[in-house]
C-alpha cells in the first residue's frame, strides 16, 4: 500500500523531467503530431546542434562561468572572514552584529532593489557582470550563519595552542580553521554556484548587452523569440539543466544535508 502510493507519487514527480528529456530528442514533426508518447521515433540529436547554433550558447556559458566562479570566490572569502570573527573572536558588539545578520535574512529584496540598482549604476557597474559579482564580496547572511555554526565546532584549544606559538589571528584563520572547514566551505561554494547559475532577476535588472548575458537570462530571451520551436526550447533547457543535475548527483549528500541543516537550527 505504502509502496504503491510512493511509486505513483514518484511517477508524478518524474514524468515532467522524463518528458522534457525524451521530447527534446524527438524530431520536430513527431513532437507536433504525437506529443504524448514517451519514446522518440528516432533520436534527433540535431535538435541540440540546432539549439547550439540558434543561440550563442558558448558565449552565454562563458559568462555564466565567470559569474559563478566570481561569486563563489566572493562569497567564500567574505563569508568565511565574517563567520570567523563571529565564531572565534571575542569583541564588543559581536552578539548584536550576529543578531542583525540573522534579522537581515528576513528582509525582502523589494525595499533595497531600487537604491541598490542606482548605487551600482553610479559606480559604473551597470551592464557588467561585476554588478552581480561585487556584492558577493560583502558577505551573505545565510552563508555567514552556516559557516559560523561550523567554525564553532572546531575545538578552541587548537586556536589557543596556536596563539601561544605566536600565530596571528590571520594565521589561525588561514592555516588552522579554514583547512579544517573544507566540507562547510564546499557546501557554501556549491550553493552559491547554483544560485548564480540559476540567477535570472540579477541579469534582467543589470545587463542589457547580449554579450554579457549568462545562460539563465540568455535562455529566457531565446524562449520569447522561439516560442513555437518546442523541440529547440526543450533541447536548450535540457542543456542548461544538465550541468546542475550532474553536480547534484556528484554532491548529493552535501546537498541534502545542507538543506536539512537550514531547517533545524
Amino acid at each position: 500500500m505504502r509502496r504503491c502510493l510512493l511509486f505513483l507519487t514518484a511517477l508524478l514527480f518524474a514524468i515532467p523531467l522524463i518528458l522534457m528529456v525524451s521530447s527534446s530528442l524527438k524530431p520536430a514533426d513527431q513532437l507536433a503530431t504525437d506529443p504524448y508518447s514517451i519514446w522518440p521515433d528516432s533520436f534527433a540529436w540535431s535538435n541540440y546542434a540546432e539549439a547550439l547554433r540558434a543561440l550563442p550558447f558558448l558565449r552565454y556559458l562563458r559568462n555564466s562561468l565567470v559569474l559563478c566562479l566570481g561569486s563563489v570566490l566572493g562569497t567564500v572569502s567574505s563569508c568565511s572572514l565574517v563567520a570567523y570573527s563571529l565564531a572565534r573572536l571575542k569583541w564588543r558588539g559581536r552578539d548584536v552584529v550576529f543578531a542583525v545578520i540573522i534579522g537581515t535574512m528576513l528582509l525582502p529584496w523589494h525595499v533595497t532593489m531600487i537604491p541598490r540598482f542606482l548605487l551600482l549604476r553610479e559606480l559604473g557597474l551597470y551592464n557588467s557582470l561585476a554588478a552581480l559579482i561585487a556584492p558577493t564580496f560583502l558577505g551573505d547572511a545565510f552563508f555567514i550563519f552556516l559557516l559560523r555554526q561550523f567554525f564553532r565546532t572546531i575545538p578552541e584549544e587548537l586556536s589557543e595552542a596556536a596563539r601561544l606559538d605566536g600565530l596571528s589571528e590571520w594565521g589561525i584563520f588561514w592555516r588552522i580553521v579554514l583547512p579544517l572547514s573544507k566540507p562547510a566551505l564546499f557546501t557554501v561554494a556549491l550553493f552559491q554556484f547554483i544560485a548564480s547559475w540559476n540567477d535570472f532577476s540579477g541579469p534582467l535588472l543589470y545587463l542589457s548587452d547580449p554579450h554579457q548575458f549568462p545562460l539563465a537570462y540568455g535562455l529566457e530571451r531565446f524562449i520569447s523569440s522561439y516560442s513555437d520551436q518546442t523541440h529547440l526550447l526543450l533541447a536548450a533547457a535540457t542543456m542548461f539543466t544538465l550541468p546542475i543535475v550532474i553536480l547534484f548527483f556528484l554532491t548529493q549528500r552535501t546537498f541534502i544535508q545542507g538543506i536539512a541543516a537550514t531547517g533545524l537550527k
Binding site: R2, L6, T9, A10, F13, P16, L17, L19, P35, Y36, S78, L81, V82, S85, L86, L89, K90, W91, R92, G93, R94, V97, L106, P108, H110, V111, T112, M113, I114, P115, L118, L119, L138, G139, I144, E169, I194, W197, N198, F200, S201, L205, A216, L219, T230, L233, L234, A237, T238, F240, T241, I244, V245, F248, Q252, I256, I259, A260, G263, L264
Partner: protein, 319 residues
Amino acid sequence: MKPGNQDSRRQHGWTGWLFASPWVVGFLALIVYPFAASLYWSFCRYDLLSPPEFVGVENYARLSHEFVQGGRFGQAVWNTCYYAVVSVPLSIALGIGLAVLLSARIRGRAVFRTVFFLPTVIPVVATSVLWLWLLDPQSGFVNHALSWFGVPPQNWFKGVGEAAWPLHWGTESGGFGSKDALVLMSLWGVGNFMVIYMAALGDIPKTLYEAATLDGAGPARRFRHVTLPLLSPVIFFNLVMGMIQSVQAFTQVYIVSEGRGEPAGASLMLSLHLFLSAFQNLEMGYASAMAWILFVILLTATAVLFRTSRHWVHYQGER
C-alpha cells in the same frame, strides 16, 4: 563571569571588526542606505531623469486608492495573497506527507528521495519553460492526462481561473488558471521542505511512539499526538520562510506571464508589479512606496505568526 573572561572579551576588539568588515560595508551600503533612500523616495516623485521631488503621501494615497478600487495594485495584492495562502499550506502538507511515506525502512528509499528532491535543483528558468509546455491548454501533456479521467481542458497559464476560491466554484472562473499553475509548479519543488521534515522525523525519539502504542494509540492518533506536535517547530519555520519566499517569487512569475502579468493581470504579483513600475514606467517613488507597504505587511504577518505560534508550536525540552 570571571574577571579573566572580561579581559579576553576585549582582546580581539579591532581584529574582530576587521574580520567582520566585509559584512559591515555590505550592511551599510546594500541595506542601511537602500532602506533610508527608498523610504525617502517613497514620498517623492522620481523618474530617474530629474532629481526626486518631494510630494508627501501622494504615492501612498494612490496605492490605497488602487487597492480600494481594484486597480493594478489591488489586483497584485490579491494575486500575491492567493498564491501564498494556497501554495504554502499545500507545500507543507505535501512535504510532511512525502517525508512520512519515506520514513519507513523500505527498499529504494534513497531512490525515491532523489526523485522527489531532483525537481528542486532544476533551474527556475528551465522549470518555467517545462511547465509552460506541459500546461499548454491545447497540446499540453497535463490536460491530455486529465482527459483520461474525464476532466475538461483547463486554461492554466493562459487563464484567469482561481480554482481554490470557493466563490468561483461552478462558474467560468472556477477552472485552473495561471496562479493555480504557479502553485502546481511550487508543489513540484516541494523537495526542500520534504528533506527538512525527513531530518526532523529522524530526530523524534522512537520511545515516544512505543509509549503511545502501549497506551493503545493507532497510527492516526500517533501521527496526531506525537508526530505533529514534535514537527511543529519545523512547520512553523516553513510557514514563515514559505510565506516570505512566495511573496518574493519573481522569476517564474515573470517568465510564465510574458513579463507583464498576463493574462489580464491574473499573474501580476506584487514583486512583478513593483519591478515593472520601477524599471518600465520609471515610477521609482510609487514603486518604493509599494515596497514599503509590502515590507510592513510581511513584518505584520510574521509577527502574527510568531504570536499564534505560542499556542501550537511545541519545543522539545520545554514544559
